[in-house]
């Protein structure tokens, strides 16, 4: 089933390039994948902690590389996210003027790359599948983007290349730092080796730093973030949905999957650095977001800012914080995809996303206004949405980390500042909402039409997922907890 999830989009992309009807094939593939992902979710054994649905083929006996897939709770949640957002992204794709088939093929390849990376349990393919999405992203922004698309395409490509090669070095170093008998690319073997403390603490520090920088560039961690807003502002909205919603989460998934459980000493050593950088994400980028004058740039910056909360959950290195981080990855992916989708619809109709030109659009586009409102409230972290449930877990996890009654610990300060970040995100989200949908409407927008009826389905799917997880966080927490708990059995020796 996992093989189907991974290979189906790739095959569909090839078929589309050869000449199959582009939109139809892509949509059918994405929906099929969503169904399979849902079946996986139902079939998944929630009590077990290890990987399930494993399939494995040897690729290189010399190097012990396997084309191996499997899911535990964490990767299953990522797969659900990828499948949901893929459907929405393909569905929201409007009319494409040139190379229509290539557009859909690129979307499917990004989706396949993300799914492959989340489902792989082999270090090599974990890395390789993420890179599969690099060229489609480059082409999507370069060919179909808006604004200064060429610059944005180069920037994201060069940044992500450097980041992922730093990551590659980190991964190779991780592999070679293990004693020769324990060397393996298999996640399960790596986990066993880490449990047996096969990695010395100094080696862990070097590797963790490389992984943190490598993944950090991919996630837009504070000093390495400048590619993200620009790329998301220029990208066509389905590409932005997939990239900001799913692909960028690869780095966070990698940190949760590899860096924290395999390198606990390294993670501990660099905690302070990470906390300072993530505050940069929350506070500095948060303020920068308020200053934005265009909806697409505002969304791009806000997606960088929210990464800070996920980092906070990861940095807290305890079960509740990490569970919160994993849930927030899911929730943020859905909400940012919804926001980018609506922004894309507005751009398609008005040709501009500058706050000065917009206003009062809720009158002519009531459904768009409603959906954007849901997305914005979710992103702020209003109770009832998945984002709230996960942020509250992160705040509890972070506040409790290293609890010392005598003095106010770094983490407690960070948590308080992060709570102020919520206020910041309220400010910019509500300002954006007011500038776009409220107030007086310029005359020229009076003839705009609302979202097509069929487009309301994917929007409704995203909103429904956000609300269900918001009211019943147990549905996802249940499946993540066994996986996360094994990590901290390791970490806390």
């Amino acid at each position: 089933m996992l093989l189907f999830l991974v290979l189906c989009p790739i095959l569909a992309a090839i078929l589309i390039l050869i000449g199959a009807p582009a939109r139809f094939t892509a949509l059918v593939t994405a929906i099929l994948n969503l169904i399979v992902a849902f079946v996986l979710f139902v079939e998944f054994d929630r009590a077990a902690a290890g990987f399930q649905f494993i399939s494995s083929t040897v690729v290189s006996t010399d190097w012990g590389i396997h084309f191996a897939f499997g899911v535990d709770g964490l990767s299953l949640l990522m797969l659900e996210l990828a499948a949901l957002v893929s459907v929405a992204a393909v569905w929201f794709t409007g009319k494409i003027d040139s190379y229509e088939s290539a557009f859909y093929a690129c979307l499917l390849l990004i989706s396949a790359g993300a799914i492959g990376a989340f489902a792989a349990i082999d270090l090599f393919f974990f890395y390789a599948f993420h890179e599969l999405a690099l060229i489609p992203t480059f082409l999507l922004i370069g060919i179909w983007g808006t604004g200064n698309r060429s610059r944005a395409a180069w920037k994201i490509t060069i940044y992500l290349t450097v980041g992922s090669f730093i990551l590659l070095i980190g991964l190779i170093l991780l592999y070679q730092s293990l004693p020769a008998s324990a060397r393996s690319f298999d996640f399960r073997d790596l986990q066993t080796a880490a449990t047996a403390h096969a990695l010395a603490a100094p080696a862990q520090r070097h590797i963790y730093l490389l992984l943190l920088i490598g993944f950090g560039v991919l996630i837009s961690l504070f000093p390495f973030h400048s590619w993200a807003p620009e790329a998301y502002a220029s990208a066509p909205s389905p590409a932005a949905m997939l990239h900001a919603g799913v692909l960028k989460k690869f780095g966070l998934y990698g940190l949760l999957r590899l860096a924290v459980p395999l390198l606990p000493d390294g993670a501990h050593y660099w905690t302070q650095l990470l906390v300072i950088l993530l505050l940069g994400n929350i506070i500095y980028i948060g303020l920068a977001t308020i200053a934005q004058k265009q909806l697409d740039w505002m969304l791009g910056y806000s997606s960088v800012m929210h990464m800070g909360y996920i980092f906070l959950g990861i940095a807290s290195a305890n079960s509740i914080g990490s569970t919160g981080a994993a849930t927030l990855i899911f929730a943020h992916g859905l909400s940012i995809a919804l926001l980018f989708a609506i922004a894309g619809q507005i751009r398609e109709r008005t040709g501009t996303l500058s706050f000065d030109d917009l206003g009062g659009l809720a009158k002519v586009m009531p459904f768009a206004g409603l959906a954007f409102g849901f997305g914005a409230f979710a992103a702020i972290g209003l109770p009832g949405f998945a984002n709230f449930a996960s942020e509250i877990m992160i705040f509890f996890g972070a506040f409790r980390h290293g609890w010392e009654m005598q003095r106010f610990h770094l983490f407690q300060i960070a948590t308080v500042l992060a709570l102020w970040g919520v206020v910041i995100s309220t400010v910019y989200m509500l300002r954006a909402y007011r500038a776009t949908f409220m107030g007086t409407m310029p005359e020229r927008w009076a003839t705009l039409v609302d979202l097509r009826r069929s487009l309301r389905i994917p929007a409704a799917i995203l909103i429904a997922a956000l609300i269900i997880v918001g009211f019943f966080p147990q549905t996802v927490v249940n499946i993540i907890t066994p996986a996360i708990r094994t990590y901290f059995l390791t970490a806390n020796k």
């Binding site: 690729v59 190379y99 890179e131 690099l134 060229i135 370069g142 060919i143 290349t161 090669f165 190779i172």
Partner: protein
Amino acid sequence: MIAIGAPYLEIAVLVCGMAILLLETFATKMDRKLFAYAGIVVLTAVLIGSFFLAPQETPQSASAFWNFYIADGLAIFFKRFELITTILVLVMMIDYAPEIQRSMDRTGTNLGEFFSLPLLTCAGLMYLVSAIDFIFIFVSLELVTISFFVLVSFARKDAVALEAGVKYLILGGVSAAFLVYGITWIFGATGETNLQRITTSFAGGNVDTHAATFGAVLIIVGLGFKIAAVPFQAWVPDVYQGAPTPVTAFLSVGSKTAGFVVLIRVLQPFLMLPNMQRLLVLLALLTVVYGNLAALPQQNLKRLLGYSSIAHAGYLLIAVVCLDGPSLAFYLVAYLLMTLLSFAVLILVSQKTGDEISGFDGLGKREPFLAFAMLVAMVSLAGLPFTAGFFGKFFIFASAIAQKQFVLVAVGILTVACGFYYYLKVVRAMYWPAADQPSAQNETITISPLSRLIMIALMVATIVLGVYPQPILNALKH
């Protein structure tokens, strides 16, 4: 089962090359393209024959000939490698023949020579990968180089080609001189020209290491010209740009590969000399940095590929520093696939719109097949996963990390990022031309079935080896 002695492979190739030369002289009425097809058939037969080799006699027990010729796993592997390269180059030459005829005024003249010289070169390359004696290395290297002198300046009415020919001639002569001088120093120090016996005499201990080091450095200089390592790369851009495109492809794959095989064979005894590894690290650093940085601003695709071949020589030198034969071989195979694929596309496109990168503007619309082939080649050259190029870089960086050559790794990473820029520049031109002018070049490009087949085969091989590298690693173990 039939068993063939290894040296018969080269003899068959040589005989075929000579036969074509004779036919060129006497059979004036024959269609010249038939020669190329004959060459392809013979080389394919030899390639098949190479799978039925008799087990080789050990050098110790053998006659004088076996003292300088070895047919070990490495040699057989690279013999096949050179055969495949030459076959692909011949296919490209058939596509390129009209260009040659245009530059020669009279139709059909000398085309037979153009098709027979690659066969002689191929024989030289096959000898070269088997050579374990300095004299034999020198002789077969000269066979290769002299054929290339002619091939590079083949379009002799063209001033650029002549310039390329003269540059290659002079620098080829200089490099040969360095090589011979180095050989004499080593002979003076050890009294031997045979690599295996040099190893034993080093082990014996009573060798003047200063003299031997000096000789080894001179040899590295001489081979440095062949593999285009910095600072011996000055000839590359001009020669690559001026030579007929199939010859450029041949130079950058065939000649470079043989150079690396010789280098790794020659270095084995000398690495025990002091400072030799440090020298190679320096050479590798200079080569990756120079090749990648110089490729950044290029606007001519042939020149760009020239600089990129310097860059790849740098990555290959990292494998040489680590003395990692399998990684080197895998990288060379990947390099063969992607380089020849890009040259195959370039030959077809440049006949219509020239070999500037701007000639590729909008190719994605005009010729989706060629554009996609170029995309695969460029992505693999840049080193993206699921292409052979990535596994090549992965293996090399892995062995560099294992040897704790962290400076090489760090510099390598930065230069790989440069590589993404200049390779994707070609992709950008094909899919979103900078200026949105309606491209005036609306002529369709005709792709012959043979070259379409070859391109598909190269693409498939690039992607399959990018997912499943084991066949090549197995082939090396023999």
